[in-house]
Each structure stands twice: as C-alpha cells, then as structure tokens.
Amino acid sequence: MPDLNDELRDLADEAARHARPLPVADVIRQGDRRHQPAVTLWPLRRARKPRRATQARPGRRWPGWVAPLAAAAAVIAVVAGTAAVSSAIHGRRAAAGASPADRVIAYVVDSESGTVTPIRTATNTPLPPINTGDNSDTIAITPDGKTVYVANYVYRGGTVTPIRTATNTALRPIKTGRTPAAIAITPDGKTAYVANFDSGTVTPIRTAANTALPPIKTGSDPVTIAITPDGKTAYVANNGSGTVTPIRTATNKALRPIKVGPHPDAIAITPDGGTVYVANDIHAGTVTPIRTATNKALPPIKTGYDSAAIAITPDGKTAYVVNLGLYPKIPGTVTPIQTATNTALPPINIGGLSANIAITPDGKTVYVPAGGVVTPIRTATNTPLPPINVGGLSAGIAITPDGKTAYVANMLSGKVTPIRTATNTPLPPIKTGLRPIAIAIAP
C-alpha cells in the first residue's frame, strides 16, 4: 500500500511530466519588457525632492505585480456606492471657485512600477507619477476627495501610502498587516479599513492623523470590504474561510462571522443599506445575499462560472455580477440579479474574461471590460451594446462623477483609455506606467 509520501510523489511526477514550459527566450523577453523602473519613463520638468525610488532598496522588491484585476472590484463598489456623495462634494467645490470638472482627477495605480499616475480628466493629460512603494494594487479615496490611499504589497509585510490630492504628494506609508488586499473608507471619511490578506486581520486607519489602530481579527484571507451607507458596519469577505465578518465601526469589534459560499471574493451593499451581496468565486459561481438587519445569509443565487465582481445600480434595484469565466473555454458573462426578489436574470455575454465592472451615476449603463473590449449594457433592457475596442487586456475601470467619461486601465499596453459615454467611443489612450490595474476618481 502506498504511503502519503509515494502518493504525493506520484501526483507531482505526473504533473511534472505534463509541464509545458514556455521557451526560455520568451520568459526572458517577458521579463525584460517589465524591467523598466518607473522613474525613467517620466522626464521630470523640475527637480523635486529625491524620490524614494524602488531601486534604492532593491532587497525589498520581491514578487512583482501579484495583485490583480481584483483590486478594481473594491474600488467600483466605492465608486458606485458614493455617486451621490461625489456630486454633493462637487457642488461645494464649484462654490469655491474653479469649475468642478477641471478639478476631477483619475488616479491610476500601476501594479508593476509602484506608482500612481494622476490624470486630469478635463484634458486627459497625465500628471507626473507619484511613487507609492512596491507593487501597489488597491486604491480608495476619501469622500471629500482630499486623500487617496494606496495599498502596497511587500513581501511578508504591507503598507498603505496616503496621497494628498491637493499637492499630489505621497505621505509616509502606514504599516498594516501582511498583504493589504482591499481598502474601504467610511462615508464620513474618518476611518479607512484595510484588509490584510495574509494576516487574517483588518487594520483601521484614522484618516485625520494617518495612524493605524490595533488590527481586528477576521477569518482567513480577508480579501475585500464594503461599508454600509450609514457607516455603522464594515463587511469583510474572508476568501479562505468562506465567511463574511461584520465589524461594528463604532467599537471596531468583529461580530460573529456569517457563513457564505466558498471563496467569497467580491462584496457590494445596496444603497439603502438593507442587503449585502457576496460573490463566491470558485467554479460554480453563486451570490449570497445577507440581510444587514439580522446578519443572516439568505439562500445563494446561482450565477455563472467564477463570480468575481459586483456592482449595484444607484436605485438599488439590480445587482450586476461579473462571472469571470475560464479562459479560453468558458466566456465571461454578467448576471443581473433583481434585488427585490433575489432572482437571477439570463446571463449577458461579454466576450472575454473579466473581473471588473462600473455603473454610470445615472444608473443607465453598466460597463464591463473584458479582454480587449469594453461592453456597455443598457440596464433598462439588459441588452449589450456593440463592444468598444480598447485593445490589449483591459482591467480596472472607473467613471467620472458627471458620468461623461469611463477610464479603462490596460495591463498590456500600460495605458488608460478614456471612453466618451455619450457616444461610446474610445479617445486616445494615455500612458500611465507599465501595468495599470486599478483606477479611482477624486471629485
């Protein structure tokens, strides 16, 4: 009878025999294409303070852009959820002087070069990139638009870099737990919650002083966070445990975890704060609704292969779930869920694989980037419009508060493509780094 050792060895040997390495020349070419420090991309017009360039501490530059298309999912929930807040701030800014549209900046996180590139949305011009640290991949902006938080994945560690939007300068990074995977900010802007994937904790950060509070224990592999519109509860999806941990923000105490499906990976809350939708991502995709009044899970709703992102319309009537698919066999789809009855409508084909979605502030159109195209879906009829060609591999997406422009990050070309939503036409792409992955827009 074989023992465990033999069994493991046989399994590994069989896999090793089937290994199909790329030609070594391709591996080297791939690597060489990536190995360009961000600093060399941008001739700075005037001398600034010496940059904390990544090459200054080469020892810490471990595994590269691990972070994924995932980052944007969290961002999108924030963007969609705070549309109303954004426009309110908008008004206030307008009273202060300059035209509000001139002030709107899209912040593009680059997963490879450890930078954030601001883009002036009025003119679609990039500003000089801001160094944030290693392997940045997740971004969130305070509701007042004053501070951007970017999570940095450092080997066996993690930090969050605040950026002051008034000057577009990075402040001192705040130490978090290991592998910060998501950031969510309370509607009052006072606290940012950071999910530490490898520590199984959430670190609250007081935004006034940018200081970290003691970490709160969650389940294993916390991967994404959503906060109720009243700011009272943060819901944390634990990818490893198949649970969601509610955290009371007043006391920063974790409540009893709620069992959902396997590998929850995306989370969104209805604008009325009544229901949390959790996408469970492995293989047979489902979405689990949780009633916030009781913190009880309702029966899961069947979606598509590998549900990976959710966004809810501003009227709260429909939750759109992106099903990643399995390249190249199973195409990506979007499943609309009627929130009144928690029933899934037929899936809409989006052409390629996707883990990102954004909804216009008026709730009329959903944009789903997949592969080299972005598919607009009319929410009134749930019909896809002709796909917009952006080329390459589209990842993160964000829409301006006025709803006029959608920005799509392209991980192959290192550029961001603006899309005019009125006509669904792409504008000339903007170079932002090597591997832009997530975008958030500050009003």
Binding site: M1, E7, L11, E14, G31, D32, H35, W65, A67, G240
Partner: protein, 163 residues
C-alpha cells in the same frame, strides 16, 4: 545569474516546481501558470537570487503567492499576457488518484504546502518554517493535521475510515 545560468536553472527546475505546486494547489493547470509567471519574475529579479537551491526556493515561494486563491484572477490575466498555449485541461490525474486529489484539495492550503515541502522538496521542519514564515511548532502541527486528513484517502486503503 546570467542568461546561460538562468536557462539551465529554468530547464532543470520547471517540471519539478510544477510537480510541487500541483501537489500544493491540487490543480495542475494553475500550478503551471503560477510557476511560469514566477520564472518571469525570477528573470526580472535575477540580480538578487542566488543560483542553486536558493533560487528554486525563491521561485517556489513566488509561485505559491501567485497560486494563493486571491490571485486566481491575476493568473487568468497572466495567461493572456504570456500568450501561452492553454495548458491541457483535459488530462487530469489518473482515475485511481482522483479521490486522493479531491481529498488533497479539501486540506487547508497551508497544510498542503507544508506536506509538499516536507515530502517532495525534502526540507526540514526548520527550513519549512523559514520558507513559510511561521514557527517550527506551527509547521509540525500543520504536517500532523494534513497527514491525518489525507491518510484515509490513500490508494488501496481498505481499512475502515474512522478512529
């Protein structure tokens, strides 16, 4: 590590690492993708990697990070970026091994990782502790729990399952 050294390291280590990662993840296609991407990064970071056993551990740790569940989506992206032929997903494990693979997938990831490092990579408990960033006591506990979970699923096991 120069180009020549990298080439021989890549050629020699790739299949072995795919084997180890397959056992760690319970998914051959995912293991292949993760190891492929890890080698691209190894080339990028070749200046910091020592040739020899250290290099293989570097790639293994990196591949493990990539294979961790959160980064499944990244791997789909990686596959597109590498423009590699999709791996053969039809060729799964042999029928007598399916039950074992199923059982393996149910074991918590860190236990699988410890088992593979111990049984396949021939590391000591101390070395595993160093590679996985936990105390040796934790490694021992993971090994014991992983073994207990898998033993009932070994092939040709006819003894009744249970205490």
């Amino acid at each position: 590590m120069d180009r020549e050294e990298f080439t021989s390291f890549y050629t020699a280590s790739f299949p072995r690492l795919v084997g180890q990662l397959s056992a760690m993840t319970g998914d051959r296609a995912e293991a292949q993708d993760a190891v492929q991407e890890a080698f691209v990064r190894a080339w990028v970071h070749r200046g910091q990697i020592d040739i020899g056993r250290g290099a293989e551990a570097w790639v293994r740790v990196t591949a493990w990070r990539i294979a961790a569940s959160r980064w499944r989506r990244a791997r789909e992206g990686i596959r597109l970026m590498l423009l590699a032929a999709p791996p053969d997903r039809t060729a799964g494990p042999g029928p007598d091994r399916v039950a074992f693979v199923e059982a393996l997938r149910k074991v918590p990831a860190e236990q699988r990782r410890a088992l593979v490092l111990y049984h396949l990579a021939d590391l000591t408990v101390e070395q595993i502790a160093a590679e996985t960033g936990v105390r040796p006591g934790t490694v021992k506990a993971r090994l014991a729990r992983g073994r207990a979970a898998l033993t009932p699923h070994l092939r040709e096991t006819t003894a009744p399952v249970g205490e």
